[in-house]
Amino acid sequence: MIMIRKNAYLSEKLFDEDIEQGPTRSGYGKGLVEAGEKNKNVVALCADLTESTRTEAFAQKFPERFIQVGVAEQNLATAGAGMALAGKIPFISSYAAFSPGRNYEQIRTTIALNDANVKVVGAHAGISVGPDGATHQMLEDIALMRVLPHMVVFYPCDVEEARKATVAAAEYKGPVYIRLARADTPIFTTAKTPFAIGRAEIFAEGNDVTIIAAGPLLYEAFIAAKQLEDEGSSAEVINCHTIKPLDEKTILASVKKTKAVVTVEEHQVHGGLGGAIAELLGQKYPAPLEIIGVQDRFGESGNPAELLDAFGLSSPHIVKAVERVLNRKS
């Protein structure tokens, strides 16, 4: 039996077929309204994607605090920076391919270097965007954002965590990036599940391998851990929702115990969560590491499930990666 931590307060339906599903962008939509209710300085800007980024509820509830900028991501970032410098807490949302994809320099100079209190929200990240294909399946945004000084990077695992991340971003003073997904995925955390900026959460305890995941693929990590348990290997599953700043303490403590690591994310294998963990372990505690991610290629059209399988990101691939890393343990 997989050792789910009691104080993680995960959904009782974690492994049930009928677990509730939703896209993380919906959690953002809820969190944005909540943040707007708590603080009147919260404003939202959108670049002609109000419905699909789920900024709509905020726009309806607080029309005087919603600013439509049109299909203009450079202006989205810089007008947002200007509003932050005038005392507001702007959430700027678009698809990750366009923001931070298209407006990277504007984010670097006018938000990060300026230390402007802007929250950059990149929806439709990952190949699970599906039929829209490679142009819209952003796979490089974590790499872009985590190398920027001052920038906090969140990658929530489900709707509930996206809601918490959004509220936390509004309360935190400084630039934040929130990575969101389009597809429906299981909602397996609950309102009581702990969430704090910069703190990785151990969701399941194990001794043989540490699986560190971020984003909706964390659920696949659970499926893999369950199968591994049946095969006699116990996996520790860590939710690394904050990729920057990285919770080195929690991660190192786990790896010192298990001495083998698999990371899981819907991003290029270079520069993302796996890259961050490799940097950490390489310098502080070298241990066998397998990085599950997209292998230096672009995405393509398809439905999310078949793409996750084809690109080697679903639970069977995580199981195989664990088997490989266990074989490398001395």
Binding site: G70, A77, A79, A81, G82, M83, L85, A86, G87, N114
Partner: protein, 300 residues
Amino acid sequence: MDYNGAMKQYSIKELELKANDIRQDLLKALAKAKSGHSGGPLGMADVFTALYFHIIKHDPKKPDWEERDRIILSNGHICPVRYAAMAHAGYFPLAELDTLRKFGTRLQGHPERMRLPGVETTSGPLGSGLSQASGMAYVGKHIDKKKWRVYCLTSDGEHDEGNTWEAVMFAAKYRLDNLTQIIDRNNIQIDGNTEDIMPLNPLKEKYEAFNWNVIEIDGHNIEQIIDACAQAQATRNKPTLIVANTIPGKGVSFMENRYEWHGVPPGKGPEDTVPKEKQLEVALQELQAWREEIEARPET
């Protein structure tokens, strides 16, 4: 509190003398730094003088005073003129100008908000200032309903950037009449003349077609600068563009209208008229002669 009420009222002649001091000081700082831009700062000295010493409401001792007018410098590379104007206005000691571009300085090669109080935003990468100014103006007009105004200084060269035009549409859509853009229309950019590199004309008609109010002036006539800003302030429901026709390198004969002086300090410019080791000295002599002309003129 209306800080401007307590501010010293300068005559036009005094403002012209101030602009001359600013030109001399920015050239000295650039020569000491041994790098940086000369042409643009000299060309915008009159606009910066008019802004800091007559037009804007501000308090150099309280740079983050909430009711201040905001000056956004979009083309950050001309910051030596902003630094010199700020020093003369009392934001920091004149002696600090000597630290321009040096290790540990608050006067970075391109201006940084986090380092120098009074610099409203970090700039250098071109084309993003007008958007930031528009974001501020949106907050002032539509959300907080404040009286402060936003002055955004841009270059003609940076109008090649698409980001600029995104902001032009945004400011017009939201009727940002608290926003005044002053474009340094000096017709040069790094690789040559603007109309060769990427033509911008007809500039006035372009902006009018984008629903802006446009005023064209001589960017070295301080009276015209002040009047145009007053007209902009009186204009309702439209942002205003002031096209300030300027001469890059203004005041130094061998620098005027030459794009070769865009990105170099005295001591590193073209030597066809003045040898490198004499460039600062001759420039200061010319500016001093101009100063004496202004001084000799009766007050109008």
